[in-house]
Subunit: 420 residues, 4 copies
Amino acid sequence: MTGNDGNERTDSQDAGPTAGPTAAQDRRPALGVGMVGYAFMGAAHSQGWRTVGRVFDLPMRPVLAAVCGRDATAVRAAADRHGWAAAETDWRALVARDDVDVVDICTPGDSHAEIAVAALEAGKHVLCEKPLANTVAEAEAMAAAAERARAHGRVAMVGFNYRRVPALAYARRLIARGRLGALRHVRMTYLQDWLVDPAFPLTWRLEREHAGSGALGDLGAHIVDLALHLAGEPLEGVSALTETFVRTRPLPTGAPGGLRAPGGTGRGPVTVDDAALFTGRLASGALVSFEATRMAAGRKNALRLEVNGERGSLAFDLERLNELSFYDGDEPAESAGFRRILVTEPDHPYLEAWWPPGHALGYEHTFAHQARDLVHAIASGTEPEPSFADGLRVQRVLAAVEESARKNALYTLVHTPVSP
Amino acid sequence: MTGNDGNERTDSQDAGPTAGPTAAQDRRPALGVGMVGYAFMGAAHSQGWRTVGRVFDLPMRPVLAAVCGRDATAVRAAADRHGWAAAETDWRALVARDDVDVVDICTPGDSHAEIAVAALEAGKHVLCEKPLANTVAEAEAMAAAAERARAHGRVAMVGFNYRRVPALAYARRLIARGRLGALRHVRMTYLQDWLVDPAFPLTWRLEREHAGSGALGDLGAHIVDLALHLAGEPLEGVSALTETFVRTRPLPTGAPGGLRAPGGTGRGPVTVDDAALFTGRLASGALVSFEATRMAAGRKNALRLEVNGERGSLAFDLERLNELSFYDGDEPAESAGFRRILVTEPDHPYLEAWWPPGHALGYEHTFAHQARDLVHAIASGTEPEPSFADGLRVQRVLAAVEESARKNALYTLVHTPVSP
Amino acid sequence: MTGNDGNERTDSQDAGPTAGPTAAQDRRPALGVGMVGYAFMGAAHSQGWRTVGRVFDLPMRPVLAAVCGRDATAVRAAADRHGWAAAETDWRALVARDDVDVVDICTPGDSHAEIAVAALEAGKHVLCEKPLANTVAEAEAMAAAAERARAHGRVAMVGFNYRRVPALAYARRLIARGRLGALRHVRMTYLQDWLVDPAFPLTWRLEREHAGSGALGDLGAHIVDLALHLAGEPLEGVSALTETFVRTRPLPTGAPGGLRAPGGTGRGPVTVDDAALFTGRLASGALVSFEATRMAAGRKNALRLEVNGERGSLAFDLERLNELSFYDGDEPAESAGFRRILVTEPDHPYLEAWWPPGHALGYEHTFAHQARDLVHAIASGTEPEPSFADGLRVQRVLAAVEESARKNALYTLVHTPVSP
Amino acid sequence: MTGNDGNERTDSQDAGPTAGPTAAQDRRPALGVGMVGYAFMGAAHSQGWRTVGRVFDLPMRPVLAAVCGRDATAVRAAADRHGWAAAETDWRALVARDDVDVVDICTPGDSHAEIAVAALEAGKHVLCEKPLANTVAEAEAMAAAAERARAHGRVAMVGFNYRRVPALAYARRLIARGRLGALRHVRMTYLQDWLVDPAFPLTWRLEREHAGSGALGDLGAHIVDLALHLAGEPLEGVSALTETFVRTRPLPTGAPGGLRAPGGTGRGPVTVDDAALFTGRLASGALVSFEATRMAAGRKNALRLEVNGERGSLAFDLERLNELSFYDGDEPAESAGFRRILVTEPDHPYLEAWWPPGHALGYEHTFAHQARDLVHAIASGTEPEPSFADGLRVQRVLAAVEESARKNALYTLVHTPVSP
């Protein structure tokens, strides 16, 4: 045991700073969660839902009510593995369950709109994975549904989980406080390398009909949302280049599943981008650059960003997610420098509930933080962040990127409807 | 959602790589866990026990049976918070429970020996926090009890959780494979800073009767265990300096708890070391240096190590726990360099069960890994690592350090009894 | 003294690895250098010329013959300070000197063409600071003059000195050997911050008539040259955004010099860009991004680049110029990682002449390396790199950038004339 | 050209910030330098002497008068190569020259005392490479000679050049200003790897009679001097372990030189340490650790240090010598972190004379800085730092280290004579 909690020898006298009421006294309302999909994102969301109530003080008591997937045996196994009480094979049945208050959508983008709208119309709260949808039209329908549901006290959140990395939440706090002054540059990259190998198979993520786009929607959506969130202002327009370096790939082997006929041994066309490179201007005139790629050898999860303002700068790398680099331009030149802040102090966002300073958090903690914030929003009836409107805003940027790419990189305004 | 799992659109067809049998079919035996203590370590162990079966394929099914603490209300709250089915106020009652197969000891060091020996004699498996004990005599008694229990198929493990940081488990693998050749230097530091402030109060960790020693037992025990584990050979002897920079501190306020009369507003003497600095030689002749301190301003959890061998070197920093730095001396000089390995590949220890490459793990994952390895050891009846004998070995080093410090740093052999 | 030269106790027996013939025996031809301008670049070039013959074995003997500037007193002082034998106040007189074989042009861009063409026509070799010129037309005239001079055995080099950072010369070597495979991404930034302060005065570098452009020509020219040099292929086209964040600045105080009337206390318009952001495609289809700015708070000289190929990646930061980061994708995933190569080994470019491994070089060494390579080119009559043709190529990219910026970021082809 | 000097277009009007008087007006006295030895250190000192007057404003005009070595041909070649006007083959002749005011001793340690004492007695100033001598007795004689010479206005300096790394000079400034508060820990390592290969030959540096000691005197002397200099207080005592991992090595081939009979093909014993590990206490009670080794695979020149005080910390790595890492404990915990200060601002020590911010200096610059400070000390008649008394102080620590190592690491007081 290693620690700096000065009073640990109180194991039998007090319950520590995080303890809640005993079970018998727990009069907090239950909040039943129903999750659709249980692959990578499903596993991450499950860990978030299982953990959130053990770590944070919450106004409601999350219950892992049911999980949904098409194969009865497999979804039953997933329910057991991840701790969900029930299993469903039809998402409509899940949405219809009385014990489900929140529908958590972890499926590919082409099914988001249908499920989310139905769930909202059925009076459920919704948490939907990003990107919000595959098209602006779908995203508009979802945002409209969320708007209507708000009138009935239902909330909808989109899963841009990286906003909940403590270092990035703290970055937003510093910018909002004016510590950077007027922004000049926002520089966003999200680099991965899992498509470098040309023998990597043609999975659904490489097919436009299912994934909507490639690196753009998968990685680019994250950095667009973060840029807008951190800067706190909209993107005026973009100029974009996209590229598909490997144009055909081997069809995947094995049972491919419902949406795709069993593959032979041939190759198929990659119908999404491998990389997207775009620049733009924020409303304030700051310049922004974005790069999303799955072809950067050696970069495993390099969401890297830098923001430069008149008074200072911030830098971050998701591969070192417990750290934020901050340059305070108000310091004398002699002693100024980018400082590596370990974002693990009790004062930092979300950290009051975790471990002592210097004890690292990981990727999955963002899902517990997301669940925490959603529960608070539901309990208080306030609009969660990022809302479906935020998700739509990102979708409009992605659409402008694709339009600009088609128009030879011509600077293309991001559509911003006039509010009624 | 961001990922490189090529086949995620299988949400309704298959259960992903981690799914187990459905509940109805789950014929795995239950493994009841009873935990004593529920402060910082208790919270971390709880998270480990709650998570391990959700992530890893295990031969047994861990059940969080009961938690123990002296205050009935507080322990009940802790049970609810952390997910334990029952609460006990007497550790003897916990040990006596039929539904408890493993006793997990998360109390300060002065109670380890009594609880562990009783639990082993009662036929329970034991997981005991580090350091194993406050004295060599206690540790010997514990190791002897573990030895006797082994004859009855019971196992005992000491909680040097940092062995389970994937980067360090991988470091051990590289050394064991001979990638470093003959070792020349092992350099270990564990730096924290929570005692820099002289106004920090006199908690139990600063009292010899409860904590045994200061930075030496708290931090030094970790780096001694790691050095021996990584090198794979014993320490011949040590030369040590220790220091208490702040000799008195304010008594803690508030209800101090059972073992200490309510404090006044005065000050009390610090009876443990603030820092310990020691050097030594491994059996092979390699030189080793150790530094443990809680007075290194700005270092929050800087367990840093470097190992230099004839063929290469390794370096690690717990503040960046997903990374291992490796210098391969077999490379041509032109292209050789310390490489930063992100230890998040499926081939890396423990990683097959977690997230895609580049998705960081955190501090608490070590407790899930520890639980995983303990469950496997119990199921297979094999000696877990680190065993109580390993814990005793560390205790003997700590004793030699204290003896050397008393003898003006004279090189002092570490006692190594001849095996019968 | 710290070192690993095993045989240093030979101080009286041998002259070490770098010694040349004694002066009496030195039959190497002298190479007279005449330098125009003596501010920042002049000081750096002077250090290069003074040092090159002391460190490298050269086929000719560089002589610092004369330096030129308009103010007789000041240029005389500069000559004494920097070690030039004579001082001239008219560049035509310098070019006409018999003891000047090489004219080294360190003036602002608007005078490059006139001086360089005259010097070449007078039968001198020329080294010209970058960017080659302020316009494509000037650069074309210069390249044509260099082409004509080549027929008479005279050579011309442009001062893209960063090619001579050993780590970047080594990077080029690795790419040329195919260690990265087919390139996918080239990512270039050059960030400085000296214009962040809006009170910084309106110097010649902020006036289009003298500087040609702002960050684009000053910083962007370097990264365009490096990108083309490292990739070894031309840039097909670009899409660009440029911005001037601070539109007016205080006029400089003090005697402003010949080209500008003494300033009052007012403000004047900034007529160049503060930042330029552009993307493009290499001939092979690789995507390239560039960012040049003087408004990135805290970034003092951050020429950072990353190149990703099918087989590996490279990264570099001029603020740590002795290091190159290399990811070898041929390594097993388990042990792969970006390695930090200290580019100070005898096998590395230029390093055979300097200090033992690990002993850092600095910024100014690039000028000694540049001088070395120029002397060798002159002695052997081979075309130096980068040639004026290379400088023209960069100029055409800068022109395309400005054209694209005027056309709303429309993708604009870089003009590449058909060779006769 | 890349820069932030706003007024560079003044090439013909002013001479820039570094210009001195014209040659005709230069009434500064000449300062003739005579250097003994011309291998690695001789080359570095030559570069320092050649450069210092070109960069810094000095009260005297350094002249490279003569260099000395035993082989007439070789020393003549070295003189030409490095720019020394004359060559001598007997150091006594060099000392006797009228045009030599400063004797710069760059020979191995066993000749330092004889040359330095003779030079001081001949009325010369002396700069002597480190370590000052091979024994305390020699160092005492040298310090006494320096003391006597001071009465006649002659000064003596020892070449601990790393004090002149700007980042370390700035570190000293921060500590002296109290920015770290009371010191708790000083942690010094100096790691190299050139002896890792057991086939590396038995050069003079591995022979006690010439080198005095191994890593201890070569590398350890530097870190002892730096620790004392940075902390500003003496070392009370030390506890030490030393080791020679490779006990015999091949005899060097080739003409071995005057002091050693030509080697055969056999092996000889290494008579110095490969590594030295020692701990100690400063007078204030702060704990200090030192490690010097030439067996740390992959560490080329890793002089790394960290100083922790009550109010903050500093860290440095010679492989990144333009950076200083500073933790300011007065910052709020939320925004505190180690900041990477690029020590290239005009306010930083020695930097006013060099390049714009962010333009790196290298290893050799320390020798120009050393020369600068020595010239100022000579001109002003003040005691230079580090003096021979400082060199003796280091020698006494090294002697205590060797004594402690012989006594099984027993804590051994550093001899400190009572001042009269």
